[in-house]
Symmetry: C2
């Protein structure tokens, strides 16, 4: 579900206003939200990584001005801008370090350069953590006191919020839930980061494709083989399609993936013990909108019941995210709002 379909007019919006900028490897989403996290205007621009980071920062500044104008506001009406980027990054310094999906933007002081181009103060955060905060503020987690988000995509991102505290970590590595070791053994699967046994090595899109390829190469029968021979690319979407069409093996891959996610969820329940776990990202097999998505969620819950301690097993909610691709800009706008409130309140006692 996209929040963008529910734009709110300026007449009904509640100030103060914030703009969120969510930088991805392909697109940058920019949106203007009110004090209750409702979107007044938004747009997407291409990231165009090859043009370099300064060009990107300048175009982000331009896009921020455009969404402000589109909402019928002036730059002076905006209190603060939020900027979310993929890692690695140094959050306190506002620096991109070695971002895998923005390779040529490395070691760039993106927070301050975007602030320069928009002429407003900027709050800087990790993109997955921003999306988590968005879901916590106005999405699937809006009624939760604390929440863990798993972002299921090419990799597995995470976000942890405990009573309005976003767990950033001391070295900007908090909530890297995809890099939990769930199999310490020497023969465990190798993660994209190079280490063994991480959750991401089992349940990311990359891992799902790898597990499927290995099983097919080992002779598992599946309708996937014919599709691949006919030229189709092996993707989680193809696996989902074949699973929905009744292919036993493809369905098994989906359920196994759910079980790995359940294992990750249990670890977060025993470490953080949140009110709820939220599953977002592209690889949720359609979410509540498809029978396969609902089966996926049911299997995650089943694995949690099998493995979690009784009280968290009984009490922790598990559900899909609801903001879709808008979670990032809404969430980072929310973090800008949070920082503004903190600064307005003065130093802690």
């Amino acid at each position: 579900m996209s929040n963008a379909s529910e734009l709110i007019g300026l007449d009904k919006a509640k100030p103060p206003f914030f703009v969120g900028v969510d930088v991805g490897g392909t697109n940058i989403k920019v949106g203007l939200v009110d004090d209750e996290g409702r979107t007044l205007s938004h747009l997407s621009i291409r990231t165009l990584v090859d043009r370099g980071p300064e060009d990107g920062a300048e175009r982000m500044g331009q896009a921020v001005k455009e969404v402000i104008a589109a909402a019928g506001l002036r730059p002076a009406d905006i209190v603060r801008v939020g900027l979310g980027t993929p890692g690695t990054m140094d959050v306190p310094k506002g620096m991109l370090l070695e971002p895998v999906n923005l390779k040529s933007w490395r070691n760039f002081p993106i927070r301050d350069r975007v602030a320069f181009h928009v002429g407003l103060p900027v709050t800087y955060a990790n993109d997955a953590k921003s999306a988590a905060y968005g879901e916590y503020w106005v999405g699937s987690g809006r009624n939760l006191h604390s929440m863990v988000l798993f972002t299921l995509g090419t990799g597995i991102g995470g976000g942890i919020i405990i009573g309005d505290l976003l767990v950033v970590g001391e070295h900007s590595h908090g909530a890297e839930c995809g890099h939990m070791i769930v199999d310490y053994n020497d023969n465990a699967r190798v993660c994209g980061c190079g280490h063994r046994g991480h959750l991401e090595a089992y349940a990311s899109a990359t891992a799902v494709i790898k597990r499927t390829e290995e099983a097919l190469a080992a002779g598992r029968k599946s309708s996937l083989s014919a599709k691949i021979e006919a030229g189709a690319e092996l993707t989680p979407l193809l696996i989902a399609t074949e699973a929905e069409a009744g292919d036993t093996f493809a369905l098994e891959i989906v359920h196994d993936t759910a079980r790995y996610i359940g294992i990750g969820a249990v670890n977060m329940m025993h470490v953080i013990d949140p009110s709820g776990i939220v599953l977002g990202g592209a690889m949720t097999f359609g979410g509540h909108g498809t029978a396969l998505g609902r089966q996926f969620l049911a299997t995650v819950k089943e694995e949690v019941q099998r493995r979690a301690l009784p009280i968290p097993a009984a009490k922790t909610t598990i559900d899909f995210a609801t903001l879709g691709g808008d979670a990032g800009y809404i969430g980072v706008a929310g973090l800008a709002r949070q920082e503004n409130r903190r600064l307005s309140a003065g130093p802690p006692k």
Copy 2:
């Protein structure tokens, strides 16, 4: 190292004052500390579980009065009492639920009964989390902004503090770090809780003994066999003694245990990303005080270097706890101090 050896006189102490009560299965430690976490007086009483929880609460009340008198103070000089107990428990309700080490005290409203007997308000917390807060406040973590404590004993407890926030969890199950799944496979070791693959199933004292017994039964040569045949009980202490005497197998058990702890530490570095990891409890093989303890710590660090992402691997400190058996009462007194400050500050804005 015990804090008790460094009692501070009333003339040098800084008010306000707090009393911490740390309830264990065998003994209850009670101590009076000042606003900087320094102990003025302390004592231990027997838990005497079989006499029932009301008798225990009454004797705790008496012990609190005794440490107050011993410090040269009156009950009116104490602002608040902290009470820490082993789980399971419902922290907001102040209830013991099904405590494994206090079996006949189940479903007892211990916070309010202790408050009744001492005539002072009581802050209630889990014992391992209290010890973590003690180390954070005035112990090994006193210079850390955030910290994860592993308490290595019969089981493995945990504590997480992020910038003065103690992670209690929504259902009093936060920081159950011993119950992280580190091996999801069906043949993984079984934990005391009945589930498979938990860190505690590999690295607790119980698990260390089990791993040792299995290897000896499978024919591993070790000086331990002769000791056991001569009537010695197989304990971590015996394993440590034989390892220090040069037994290769006993030393291997110690190092393997350190590697499991390193795996748990890596998971916390990727989820919490704390300033530092602290290792406490009885099973730290002598800590900094022995060559074996120092080897144990070195191997934990080696495993972390092998498995952690580069930035946390480079920046996260790992060290032993320093408060020993006093961490619990000091920490829970610190939590009482924290609650008092929160209540004094009024509602959040």
